[in-house]
Amino acid sequence: MTRDARVKRGTLSVIGLGLAVALAASGCSSSTGASGSAGSPSPKVGGNLVVGITTDPDNLDPWKATQFQAVNILQTLYGTLTEFDKDLNVVPGLAESWTVSPDGRTVTMKLRHGVKFSDGTTFGSEDVKFSLDKIKDKATAAVSAASLASVTSVDATDPSTVTLHLSAPDAGLLANLAVINMAMLPSESTPQALKTTPDGTGPFTLKERKPNQSLTMARNDAYWGTKPSLDTIEFRIIPDETSIVSAMQSNNVQLAILNDPLVAKTAQSGSLKVTKTAQLSYHVLQLNARRPVLSDVNVRLAIQCAVDRQQVLDTAALGEGEVTGPITSPAYKSDPSARPCPTRDLTKAKEYLAKAGKSDGVTIKTIVSQGEYATSVAEAQNLKAQLAEAKITLDLEVLASDPYVNKWIAADFDAAVALNGGRPDPDGMYGRYFTSTGNLNKVAGYSSPDLDALFAQGKQSSDPNTRKGIYAKVSRNLEDNAAWIWLFTGYTYTVTSSKVTGFVPMSNGSVQYLRSTALS
């Protein structure tokens, strides 16, 4: 239960991944980065790789898939206009280059030549127009429809050029186009057919699916990039992570990405290699500043000063992770010490409480999920113990997954212990929470004209360095107002057998480098 629930939450980090490189700067990108691999000395061509996964994908329709593992599997089958490299920079995908008009409202994309769908038809601008129009169409119920909100229309200018017209500059769009929920589908395709017969431009094609058992992919010899080395990849469904490690020890499975630090530890012996990767998702104590008890910034700051984040990480998560500020994506990463109380300071906490006229203490109703992810209850208990020393009482309400999600969605809490998904682009990550018109602002419980202005600047700017400056301000603003109490990010553990070369784990959990993976 726990693990699957965590997988479900992990989903969130994938839905809108994107490291926004400025539109104009990207206009002259070359195509080399897209298919780069970690580089292996002499990979043998061929071989059948078995990857252990814990759940069967919920949906093979790339526009509707939300579950983490489904999204990952689909990356082997489908292609997107832009892609991420291993550091989550936006690089060309099916669009080999693009230019942005000076006013930022027109994006012209040159498409790659000689790309074929797995059914043999040629990929062209009509397919791009079809796909983007369909994703925007409400009737499709595509998960990423909101990511195209700024796109007013799409023109297939000529067979290898598309033009996107925007209602306003949108620096996050290129990163939005890189997620698999924006996969390019052939223009005559129907969702019904795609559910059983995927038809994409990815490095592999679906060979066989056995429900609840396995999915097997075969190399796509018509793939436009560097041809994959593996003959087949079998995603074998082994529901229990301990059983996956057992299967790796007996060499039945050669690669798996695990969540449980304890299980990962058992894999460390013998010929297996374990790589830790910091995740984009973050553990946080969400505060609802619209509740009377937390509406005073001083109360929120008191909470921030009374928490030792490393202690939460050590007691609840075995120290497996890193203390974090708001933004977790590598290029925009917040400095975790840039906050009013970088280390725990109970005196300051008491001063803040006194300033708020609450020297006698406050009681905060806090929701905690049991089962949504493994460390939630332990985090809540540690926070409660720490805050009690500052006369702040966390009144914990421990809920099962679904009731928790329902309360979270309705913003029915003073505070919530949460594990939220992160995205490579900071606008995609927090714009929806902390702008007053954002669709999750109710849940965030905080907004201000200052933040609205900063987020608007971030969307407009096309220079990466300017954007970095803007989002550092956003981050600082969130911390100075103690909008939430950011705690830490966890790791994923990529376990590989000694025969596997060329696989590069990514902080968004993507397995796109299966295309460069080889077996020696």
């Binding site: 989903t11 969130l12 759940t55 499709t140 007996s250 999600v405 669709n439």
Partner: protein
């Protein structure tokens, strides 16, 4: 057959149908009582970001926009006409899923019961042969272990140890059915049926012991011994033969439970059986999958009970005479 027998059979079938309908209604209500839907199951907290239009489109897509009564009778009507529903995540019908999952669980249940009988009955006979002795204590301890060691622990330890130390882990390979590859299939069934069989051997052992002690004190045993019946023949033919009814009852009951899917063991050993099918259905909130699969499990439970009752008639002439 006499008319009373016919009436009895008719009554039996009616009560079976009643049980199944009850199970269907209960499962339907329980599933809806769990907060959340297929939408939140897939999206988690991201569902908060859906616009009302998107939500409506998704509800229509998953068929959960209709009133509950319509949903229930729509489903029941489909089941009665042989349509068990469709799994949108697997993109196949529930009937197809069940046809591949049920044999796995059935095979696992049969093997586990066989192992349990092979362990449980001799152990029970050993215990009963000299109550309160050292060998009785041994039997009781093994029985207690079987009852109290949780299957998930035994399964995990067994699997981790064998694969790490000996590299033996047939369940890490892709699952093969008995027809596809009998050798691999039986290797894959070995550990799970051992784990389950060990757990079930305990109640069977205890039932055997009690029943044997009970029968042994009866008059006909003394008479048989006085007639000069040999020790072995006395133990097996006379005592065990007469003690079979409670043992069969216990075995039937356990077999019925096993058909419900040994969820934990199937999960750990990656066996694509019926227990996992229900679990996955619940996790993904695929109502039709859970409802239909539980109905099938209930049906097999009822049928095993029926078979157990019929078995009494074969092993005990007194039941036949009634």
């Amino acid at each position: 057959m006499s008319s009373t027998t016919w009436r009895r059979v008719a009554r039996r079938i009616l009560s079976m149908l009643g049980t199944l309908l009850g199970v269907a209604v209960l499962v339907f209500i329980m599933l809806r009582a769990i907060p959340g839907s297929q939408i939140t199951a897939g999206l988690g907290t991201e569902a908060a970001a859906l616009t009302p239009e998107q939500r409506a489109a998704l509800e229509a897509y998953y068929g959960i926009d209709k009133p509950l009564v319509v949903q229930f009778f729509g489903w029941l009507g489909n089941v009665l006409t042989g349509n068990l529903g469709f799994s949108s995540s697997s993109q196949v019908s529930v009937a197809t899923l069940t046809l591949s999952a049920l044999p796995v669980t059935f095979e696992l249940a049969v093997l586990s019961i066989l192992l349990a009988l092979v362990i449980g009955i001799p152990l029970g006979m050993l215990s009963a042969s000299k109550p309160d002795s050292a060998r009785d204590a041994l039997g009781q301890v093994v029985g207690l272990a079987g009852l109290s060691v949780p299957s998930f622990l035994l399964a995990t330890v067994l699997m981790s140890f064998l694969s790490a130390q000996l590299g033996f882990n047939p369940n890490g390979e892709a699952y093969a059915t008995l027809l596809e590859d009998p050798v691999r299939n039986l290797r894959q069934m070995l550990l799970p049926s051992l784990v389950l069989g060990f757990g079930i051997a305990a109640p069977i052992m205890r039932t055997t012991r009690t029943a044997l002690l009970d029968v042994r004190s009866q008059d006909f045993v003394r008479t048989a011994r006085a007639k000069g019946v040999g020790a072995r023949r006395l133990q097996v033919r006379h005592i065990l033969g007469n003690a079979l009814v409670p043992i069969v009852t216990m075995t039937g009951l356990q077999f019925g439970y096993l058909l419900g899917g040994a969820v934990v063991v199937e999960q750990i050993f990656s066996l694509p059986g019926i227990g996992r099918q229900v679990l996955l259905g619940i996790q993904a909130k695929e109502y039709a999958v859970v409802q239909s699969t539980v109905l099938i499990i209930a049906l097999s439970f009822v049928l095993v009970n029926l078979a157990t009752d019929l078995a009494y008639r074969i092993i005990d002439p007194r039941v036949r005479a009634e």
